[in-house]
Amino acid sequence: MMRLASVALVLGAWEWAGRKPVSPAFPAFSETMAAAWAMLLDGSLPAAVGITLAPLVLGIAISALLGIAAGVAMGLSSKAEWLGVPVFIVLQAAPLAALIPLLVLAYGVGLTSKVMTVCIMAVPVIVLNSFKAIRHTPVSMVEMGRAFLGSRRQLIAKIILPAASPIIFAGLRLGLAAGFIGAVLAELLISPTGIGDLITYNQSIADYPKMFAAIATVILLSVLFIGALDRVEATLFRPEKRGTR
């Protein structure tokens, strides 16, 4: 209920600001929705979403796989920690968008560069969260596993990973959000395709409702993805959280 009220409040403020208008380039919520509806009907929005999702889904899948593997390895072994942590801390602090021209130079303007953009945005936060998650496993839980004769593998599979899953998934959520930024950035900076193309094109012809519809679509997609991620976490690792939210 409170969530709905919060959404309604924001959308109401948007509608009011658009009608006032705050700026001629700022359309009201209703205009934006109308534009979105029109783009949905003429097929330009679904097509754009499809094009944007390809590097995004690919990049996120790769980042999640590699990022969690690297983070977990760093959490479990001090050698991997010694090797990996400084690298990823620097990567997290660096303004990675500045690397995009370099990626274009190396991989051209195709899908590869865009997938790489998503990855460099998403991987550091996923790695560092997974690492911290493993390191923060409650000591007594691991002791309990040892006292009841668990093998190293059992301790990792039955205690350490499930205990770490909330923080790993928090990292995935942040990584997903960063990946979305990467995907749109790639389309704005590398070559205008998909939703990035809709944004740049409609901005250039001053069709602001359509431009905002494209932006709103990115936000909506991001929220849907994150919701799906929560669902996956609850079913895979944390049955006690099912049904409580």
């Binding site: 409650p138 007594s140 839980m141 002791e143 309990m144 596993g145 040892r146 006292a147 009841f148 004769l149 668990g150 093998s151 059992q154 039955k158 205690i159 499930p162 205990a163 690792f237 944390r238 049955p239 006690e240």
Partner: protein, 265 residues
């Protein structure tokens, strides 16, 4: 004076279930927690380890459990030297150490799960022990839905389910409220009477130690040595409220307090 003070020599036959020989523990950085501890824990009895806070009672218990390595000395369980955790010992944790994502039943069966016991078999065993600690009907609940006292009952059931001969309890009742603690202490007495198991019980409460234990081992301040072993001369078959008013109980509490006083700042 009804509380007999025993000499530090090993207890007479039968052979003790757990023996600690010259255990010394020095932590990296040079802090000496335990210094040459020699102790015997007789079969089928509850022995309490009591001492000033920070004296290394828990360290000693974890060394016996095989969770911590000793710097010097050895631990014998049933006459055999041990160097790690074993199936004949089960541990009850101060903070319960339950898996929050597992139901009560899975938590109780977890020791058996780690040993590779088939699911139907381990759940049947776990169900019996859930009932034994008075949690029948809560099998499908998760730890966050239980009170602190109920969580420790789950921890106790988990230790009972693996059918170990030695139960190592690390301040098991310190995180539950006073009323629950008293009920627990009474239940523990009947558990000791009914199960032919050896209990090692760490506590910082003198009253608790005298109430539940047939022998109370007093440790000195760090670096810890055994300062006294006291066997309160109390018949355990009398009613719980009578024990707490029995002169032997009160004398033992008083004499332990006199022994411990010197370590309190």
């Amino acid at each position: 004076m009804t509380a007999a003070i025993l000499p530090l020599a090993p207890a007479p036959a039968p052979e003790p279930m757990v023996s600690v020989r010259g255990i010394t523990k020095t932590y990296p950085g040079g802090v000496e927690a335990l210094s040459g501890i020699d102790l015997d824990f007789p079969r089928g009895e509850l022995t309490a380890l009591l001492g000033p806070s920070g004296c290394g009672k828990t360290t000693l218990l974890k060394i016996i459990a095989g969770l911590l390595p000793a710097t010097k000395g050895e631990v014998l369980v049933d006459g055999r030297k041990v160097s790690g955790p074993g199936p004949e010992r089960a541990f009850v944790f101060q903070d319960f150490a339950l898996l929050p994502w597992a139901t009560v039943l899975r938590n109780v069966a977890f020791g058996l799960e780690l040993r590779g016991v088939a699911r139907s078999e381990r759940e049947a065993i776990a169900e019996r022990h859930v009932a034994e600690v008075g949690l029948k009907g809560f099998e499908k609940r998760y730890p966050h839905e239980l009170s602190g006292g109920m969580r420790q009952r789950v921890g106790l059931a988990r230790a009972l389910a693996v059918n170990a001969e030695v139960l190592l309890m690390d301040e098991p009742f310190s995180a539950v409220d006073e009323q629950t603690r008293r009920k627990f202490q009474e239940d523990l007495l009947s558990l000791v009477a009914n199960q032919r198991k050896t209990f090692l019980f760490v506590t910082h409460s003198i009253e608790e130690a005298v109430y539940v234990a047939s022998r109370v081992v007093l440790l000195s301040r760090r670096p810890s040595r055994v300062s006294q072993v006291i066997a309160p001369d109390i018949a355990r078959d009398m009613a719980p409220d009578r024990i707490r008013r029995h002169p032997a109980y009160l004398d033992a509490v008083e004499s332990i307090w006199q022994g411990l006083k010197q370590y309190v700042d």
